[in-house]
């Protein structure tokens, strides 16, 4: 069963109606700057229910795993901005750091001895964390969409 909306969208596309906004195209092109060459992608860990868990304070928790590293992220949305606290374990060791990335802003943090880190005031939208370890390929979480 073909959905009428698909027909209509295709007809509008063919007619040049409802074109892609310029800022959407521009954002897509700029996304290339977010490429992390050679990175291993950490996917969300299998859980009985494949979705984020919501904490009492409205925070969301999600776990990513790859290349022997586990990322536990807790994301809180408040006042329209995003705060992220997280832990990478086992501790990736001396000289490791994380980049907490959004399309418009990347914040870099050294990891504590416990592998923990925190950033505040990120814009809502797509978010990813990259862990850089000396002597190893970077590990990057899948991009997740965080909106209030």
């Amino acid at each position: 069963m073909i959905n009428d909306e698909y027909f209509l969208a295709a007809l509008r596309l063919a007619a040049g109606n409802d074109p892609i906004p310029g800022h959407v195209s521009a954002a897509a092109r700029e996304a290339y700057d977010l490429r992390v060459p050679g990175a291993v992608t950490a996917d969300p860990a299998e859980r009985p229910v494949a979705r984020a868990e919501r904490g009492e304070n409205g925070s969301h928790s999600v776990r990513f795993v790859a290349a022997g590293l586990t990322f536990d992220l807790e994301v809180t949305v408040g006042d329209g901005l995003i705060d992220v606290t997280g832990q990478v374990f086992p501790n990736p060791g001396e000289g490791a750091h994380v980049d907490v990335r959004t399309p418009h802003l990347t914040l870099t943090r050294r990891l504590a001895d416990t592998g923990e880190f925190a950033v505040t005031g990120l814009p809502p939208g797509w978010l990813s964390v990259v862990c850089h370890r000396p002597g190893h390929a970077p590990v990057q979480t899948r991009w997740v969409r965080i909106r209030p």
């Binding site: 969208a9 295709a10 007809l11 892609i20 959407v24 290339y32 797509w126």
Partner: protein, 178 residues
Amino acid sequence: MTDTRAPAELLQAAADGDRTAWAELESRFGPRMWAVARACGLDATDAADAVQGTWLRLLQHLHSIRDPARVSAWLATTTRREALMIRRKEQAALPSFGTVDDADPASAVLEADGSRLLWKTVSTLQEPCRTLLKLVATDLGSRQMAMRLGLPLGSIGPTRARCLEKLRLLISPQETAQ
């Protein structure tokens, strides 16, 4: 400047650090991705998120797309999945990090050369369907459409439904034959 490289070449070049190849991929496939997101019922803000999310996914899969020649279909399918996830999130009020596996043959209409096929099929319809669907595509209001077609205002809705049904019947065999 027109880039005539095949999609698989563009993908490989983008993976190797060629920014112009990435821009060309966006130029070729971005409009269709936007249409797919909108067809899933998203408003402009959410559709922008679905499209952006799909490009970010591609960045992480530049070296692992199974069939690089069909990156167009991959982008359309991934956009649709992202769009449906966003819709589900709105409904569930919790972000879902799972995947949407319910493949829908309808997406073929917007993927690959579906739009061109659709338009070609519209032009084979008899009147008033041929004109009506072209007017629908330009978002002309029902009143103006009735005047242009010389039909009573009240018959526009039912006629539109009948024309879409005819289109559906004509498209479906072509779709399954691809």
